[in-house]
Amino acid sequence: MSNEISEAQVRHVAKLSRLKLTDEQINLYTRQLGAILEYIKKLNELDTTGVEPMAHVAPLRNVLRDDIAGTGMGIDKVLQNAPDSDPPFFKVPRVLEDSSGA
């Protein structure tokens, strides 16, 4: 039986999703996502020609507010859950290689 999704596709999707998966997980997800996509093929039984796609439910459009500045929650609160910070900044590992040679 041909699977609805290949192992290479699952690796690609994992990369797009920023999920570092083991070979074992790739293998499992290839099978499981294949089975789910096989089931989802059921939708192709329906002719949807001319049907408007439904993006959301609420009877609302373009909800706007007056352009009045409010107060933010403050740097302390913004940073309180950061895994690493150097107020007022979030701290992350080096992104660019040091190219100055120094």
């Binding site: 999704i5 999703s17 499981q32 089931y39 939708l43 959301h56 859950n81 895994p83």
Partner: protein, 494 residues
């Protein structure tokens, strides 16, 4: 009657009449938690000090003759995907295990303003993704009616806690049945309001076009009490519906109106559904007969596209989830992998280590459905089918005022029974998912017991913003039955 067996309505009445203090109420439920949490595992965080302090404040207000609000002194448990400034909000995920929100969810503000006392935060499937609460990254919750069985999900902690009388009422969230399914499995009542009725501000997002917050409790009146407090417009959620479009009613006023002339829709396609437990079919049958005796009129309605709802849902919900959960980057908040190889690995390893299997599965499915070359075939197709499902309901509500249906094809299943096959688990939601896709309200109420003494749920679906009518129909049913008054053996205080 013992305090923990009282409905929210009766408890509030006793507090108001000063026959009982808020502190007494809080102590009674904390004691019940202490006694049963080990067996049930319904809760992630218990807040005894916070609850006692709040109770004493409320008792002081009442002693001073001040108005302490419509829910003054009412202990309540909320699902742990609702942000609280005073307690961690984990979503039952390792990635948020130490997350301390800098603000309160709208519903939390509303509850506290009304005098309710949040005594604990309940377990759930990680990020509300699941139908059994077995996907929790923290603990497994057991069904109080049979601890070998799951409580349903994803609001399994909220439902099990009420069934075990750890609180008279709780809040859950419902994206594909996550309030109604656990309410049915645990033998209590649970309402998913119309999309837009309750503000989602401070609810950790899963499927933003589907998520709604709603109450769980013993009966429809307790749910109406809580709905009166949590519903209504909030500008911080742009999908929250303003008063000008749909004014917020008092959900208590219509409860006692007789059902004479109410048109109840029976779904043609559900009559011949394969794989539905005949005991559930019989219970629904009995309920509709009772409704007829109460003066309601049964009409047949057709929902031809609901058989596509599960397939449609698992594209729409996962697409939204893949985008909503992109915020967990190991940088701004939440878990970060201890030794990243480089900056990309901060994302990839933090997310791989922080998310559980089901969350990863759904992120990947959603990413795939939205990715180049597959968007039209999957996501766009699903949005069109979603429209067809909605149109089915619009037609049905021309003929019927409410629709009567099962909640789930089975009663509570055993712990571990469906964990190895995600698709089988997804099919538990076959009768609940279409209401989320269409955006209509639905309530699950107790309607009997199986031969194994497991609760059976009845689902009543209503038209947009017409929670009042399904609450009325639920409450009227509860005047003629006593399934909702049953408490599982071992949870009645001695």
């Amino acid at each position: 009657m013992q305090i923990t067996q009282l409905t929210a309505f009766d408890l509030l009445d006793q507090i108001k009449k000063r026959q009982l203090t808020a502190r007494d109420a809080v102590e009674a439920f904390l004691k019940q938690i202490d006694k049963h949490e080990k067996t049930i595992g319904a809760l992630i965080t218990v807040l005894p000090e916070y609850a006692r302090e709040r109770a004493d404040q409320i008792d002081q207000m009442l002693a001073d003759g001040r108005d302490a609000g419509p829910l003054a002194g009412l202990p309540i448990i909320i699902k742990d995907n609702l942000c609280t400034q005073f307690a961690k909000t984990t979503c039952a995920s390792k990635i948020l295990i130490d997350y301390q929100p800098p603000y309160n969810a709208h519903v939390v503000e509303q509850l506290e303003k009304a005098g309710a006392i949040i005594i604990a935060k309940a377990n759930l499937d990680e990020f509300a993704m699941g139908s059994s609460t077995e996907n929790s990254g923290i603990k497994t919750t057991r069904n109080p009616w049979s601890t070998d069985c799951v409580p349903g999900g994803s609001s399994g902690g909220s439902a099990a806690a009420v069934a075990a009388r750890m609180a008279p009422v709780s809040l859950g969230t419902d994206t594909g049945g996550s309030i109604r399914l656990p309410a049915a499995f645990c033998g209590i009542s649970g309402l998913k309001p119309t999309y837009g009725r309750v503000s989602r501000y401070g609810l950790v997002a899963y499927g933003s076009s589907l998520d709604q917050i709603g109450p769980l409790g013993a009966d429809a009146r307790d749910i109406a009490l809580v709905m009166n407090v949590i519903s209504g417009h909030d500008a911080r959620d742009t999908t929250s519906v303003p008063e000008s479009i749909s004014p917020k009613p008092d959900y208590l006023t219509k409860l006692d109106t007789p059902l004479k002339g109410l048109r109840i829709g029976i779904v043609k396609e559900y009559q011949s559904s394969d794989g539905i437990d005949p005991q559930i079919v019989a219970a629904i049958d009995q309920a509709t007969k009772l409704y007829e005796q109460m003066g309601a009129q049964l009409v047949e309605v057709s929902l031809p596209h609901t058989q596509y709802a599960v397939a449609c849902y698992y594209l729409v919900a996962t697409a939204e989830a893949s985008s909503n959960l992109a915020r967990y980057d190991g940088v701004h908040f939440g878990y970060r992998t201890p030794n990243p190889e480089d900056y990309i690995d901060v994302y990839s390893s933090s997310r791989a280590e922080g998310f559980g299997d089901e969350v990863k599965r759904r992120i990947m499915l959603g990413t795939y459905a939205l990715s180049a070359g597959y968007y039209d075939a999957y996501y766009l197709k699903a949005l069109k089918v979603r429209m067809m499902i909605r149109q089915d309901f619009e037609k049905a509500f021309e003929q019927a005022d409410i629709i009567c249906a099962p909640v789930a094809p089975t009663t509570a299943f055993r712990v571990g029974e469906k964990t190895s096959d995600p698709l089988t688990m997804y099919l538990s939601d076959i009768f609940t998912i279409s209401a989320n896709l269409a955006g209509i309200p639905g309530i699950s109420i107790p309607a009997g017991f199986s031969r194994d003494s497991l609760p059976i749920g009845l689902q009543l679906l209503g038209n947009y913003f017409d929670e009042s009518t399904i609450l009325q129909a639920a409450w009227q049913y509860q005047q003629h039955t006593d399934f909702h008054r049953q408490i599982p053996a071992g949870f009645i205080e001695q």
